[in-house]
């Protein structure tokens, strides 16, 4: 009886433990929480609190409440000197809170300034920077009312940096300010050999600019903060399109040649690490939050990388969420600018 029980026990035991567990893949997962249909391509987004300002290409400028998913406003054009003008193809929209301004850039054009005092109406306040502006950044001046700074990557002029103040000229009919002018003596124009495409800054000491075939250029503010000096430049493979500064260093999207990470040491002294990753992907833009880097790779969607050690970015999967131009983090979620609208995506890392 003993020897009869033993093999039966072995067999039953074997059946119970016979199954195996699948291997776990090191990729993350994403889930699409929703899509805000922007009608046109969603090319860019800026967020203040829970309000998204969307550059919707030929569908103009749109304002969305991210919590409710309700489109608060849509602007397809604006009045200038009494004449209504349609937007052509909006590429970038950035709000400026302190002065209730909205900066709007049509592809390859100068930056338009609008007053957004009344949420239902864009009041044109003139053009700043110049034609062929590819990217720009603005900073409010919190210690001075009615001031803001702007940095732009100008495709033919190079790096532009200005501090703006309102013009004292008043419209005789409405009594309103009609435009913003750069303050003389602060900033200016720094020509570059490359074709400026993207720009980023920590707002304190550094400005970085992607200059297409010539790589990236790093600029430093002078001690007074009134001018920018070229600190260093690094030629990279491919066409440097966009740049993203983080505490650890600089991420560069290089179109057909993937992406680069340049450590702070490298930027400062040329002695640190340069890491080339996602070599076989066409990277248009990189957004970063904590240990996550999101590479926008056009028709293939997004590629996620674990950058807990930025010197060794680890791929965590390509996710086809539509044609993605760029992305931005908001409240722990990802806002993806896609051809089918603004998508809210959760990354499960």
């Amino acid at each position: 009886m003993i020897i009869t029980n033993k093999p039966i026990f072995i067999t039953i035991f074997t059946i119970f433990i016979g199954c195996m567990q699948p291997n776990e893949e090191s990729v993350w997962s994403v889930s699409e929480e929703g899509v805000f249909s922007t009608s046109g391509f969603c090319r860019n987004v800026s967020v203040i609190n829970n309000t998204a300002y969307v550059a919707a290409g030929q569908s103009g400028v749109q304002v969305w409440d991210l919590n409710t998913g309700v489109k608060l406003n849509e602007f397809l054009g604006y009045y200038n000197s009494g004449e209504y003008l349609d937007f052509e193809d909006i590429a970038i929209v950035q709000p400026e809170e302190v002065n209730n301004l909205l900066f709007v850039n049509e592809s390859n054009e100068a930056v338009m300034v609008f007053l957004l005092e009344n949420p239902d109406q864009l009041i044109f306040r003139g053009f700043i920077m110049s034609a062929r502006t590819k990217d720009f950044l603005s900073f409010s001046s919190f210690d001075e009312v009615d001031r803001f700074y702007m940095l732009s990557a100008d495709n033919d002029d190079g790096l532009k940096y200005h501090k703006y103040k309102p013009d004292t000229t008043f419209n005789p009919v409405t009594g309103e300010l009609i435009e913003w002018k750069p303050i003389l003596g602060i900033g200016g124009e720094t020509p570059t050999d490359g074709k400026a495409l993207g720009i980023d800054s920590d707002g304190v000491s550094k400005v970085v600019m992607a200059v297409d075939q010539l790589g990236v250029e790093i600029y430093k503010f002078d001690s007074l903060g009134s001018d920018l000096m070229l600190h260093s430049k690094y030629d990279l493979e491919g066409n440097a399109e966009q740049v993203k500064l983080t505490d650890e260093g600089l991420f560069v999207s290089c179109d057909d040649f993937g992406a680069y990470f340049l450590s702070n040491n490298y930027i400062e002294s040329g002695q640190g690490s340069v890491v080339h990753f996602a070599e076989d992907l066409t990277v248009d833009h990189i957004s970063v939050s904590g240990d996550i880097a999101v590479l926008s790779i056009g028709s293939k969607g997004i590629a996620l990388y674990d950058i807990s050690d930025p010197i060794n970015p680890e791929p965590r999967g390509i996710f086809d969420i539509g044609y993605v131009y760029r992305s931005k983090f908001w409240n722990g979620k990802l806002l993806a600018c896609t051809r089918s609208g603004l998508k809210i995506v959760t990354i499960n890392s």
Binding site: I3, T4, K6, P7, I10, T11, F13, T14, I15, I17, G18, C19, M20, Q21, P22, N23, E24, E25, S26, V27, W28, S29, D280, L281, K300, G301, A303, P315, R316, G317, I318, F319, D320
Partner: protein
């Protein structure tokens, strides 16, 4: 892998404690595989354009060395009732393609209660079997990585007689085919039902017909990154006809021929999944073998296998990519030993 080792250990301990002889078989196989990585003709023509697909190998074919050990023990035998356990362990080494070397193991238990009456449970493990280098599309568009999978196959069958010299086997099986880390999007749970009819023909041998109905579920469909967006589930029907001749042979003790064909149809219907959508294939294997008993304890088997997979798809490039031919040649020498301490 760990569970499998534990099981085999239990078997060995359990077997050695019963007062019956322990049969041990050791065999050495020397073989040749003409198309180790199952390349299609198109791929063979184009391999010079991207030599990385060879995964470091310099040839499409390879010589193979394989060692197999099998333990078998009858636990009890009372009248016509008999319970036996067996386990085997294989080690395969590909001389010209080191990636392909692997081990596999098997455990089975059979309870017999008369002629052509038995109940059998079998567990087979195939460990990290290399297919070839594939693009890891989850993280890249052209970065090639070695693709391995492991199989855990369990089947329970019952065999009963129909009438004199004719018997049948029915069974149900569960095969888990799980891929290594970078290719888990291919993971399959495969369920199958088996029916086999056997006939013993006087002065000839045995003829059988086996039919497997297979349903494979792609358990990681949509669960990893972009490459899991394709559904690799499929349904299949497999025919297997072995003919063994062991009578009226002058020199050899057995000669055999078998024909096996799998007809597989993929479930995918997505228009953007050209590789799987509407695809089906016929995978045919023809085997010949000759066996000669040299002594009571030593025998030699010569065998060959011709395999051909023909793929049908709406896309010609898919047909070209997924069709291949392969030839195996084997020479096996087997020694049988009995350990009887009682």
């Amino acid at each position: 892998m760990q569970h499998f080792s534990i099981t085999v250990s239990f078997l060995l301990v359990g077997s050695l404690m019963a007062n019956t002889p322990l049969n041990l078989y050791i065999s050495y196989h020397s073989g040749y595989d003409s198309n180790v990585m199952r390349f299609s003709l198109k791929e063979i023509e184009n391999v010079a354009e991207n030599k990385d697909v060879m995964g470091g190998a310099n040839t499409f074919d390879s010589y193979i060395n394989k060692i197999n050990t099998r333990l078998q023990k009858t636990i009890f035998e009372i009248d016509k009732k008999e319970l036996s356990l067996s386990s085997s362990f294989n080690l395969s080494s590909y001389a010209h393609n080191p990636n392909k070397s692997y081990w596999s193991g098997n455990f089975s238990t059979v309870y017999k209660w008369g002629s052509y009456r038995n109940l059998k449970y079998s567990l087979r493990h195939l460990n990290s079997y290399y297919l070839r280098h594939y693009t890891n599309r989850d993280v890249s568009t052209n970065s090639l990585r070695a693709c391995f999978f492991s199989d855990r196959n369990q089947i329970i069958t019952i065999t009963l007689p129909i009438r004199k010299r004719i018997w049948y086997t029915i069974g149900a099986g569960y095969l888990q085919r799980y891929y290594d880390n970078t290719f888990t999007e291919f993971d399959l749970d495969i369920y199958y039902a088996r029916l086999r009819l056997n006939k013993r023909i006087k002065k000839f041998g045995t003829v059988s017909l086996q039919i497997d109905r297979v349903s494979a579920e792609n358990v990681t469909y949509n669960k990893t990154a972009v490459s899991s967006n394709f559904d690799r589930s499929y349904d299949a029907m497999e025919w297997y006809i072995p003919i063994k001749m062991d009578r009226s042979l002058s020199y050899f003790n057995q000669a055999g021929f078998s024909f096996r064909q799998e007809i597989r149809v993929y479930d995918a219907e997505a228009l953007d999944d050209a590789l799987h959508s509407g695809r089906n294939h016929k995978d045919m294997k023809i085997d010949f073998w000759l066996n000669k008993k040299i002594t009571d304890r030593l025998d030699i088997t010569l065998s060959s296998r011709f395999r051909k997979r023909g793929t049908d798809s709406s896309y010609e490039w898919v047909e070209d990519l997924k069709s291949f031919k392969q030839m195996h040649l084997w020479c096996k020498i087997k020694w049988a030993f009995t350990y009887d301490n009682y």
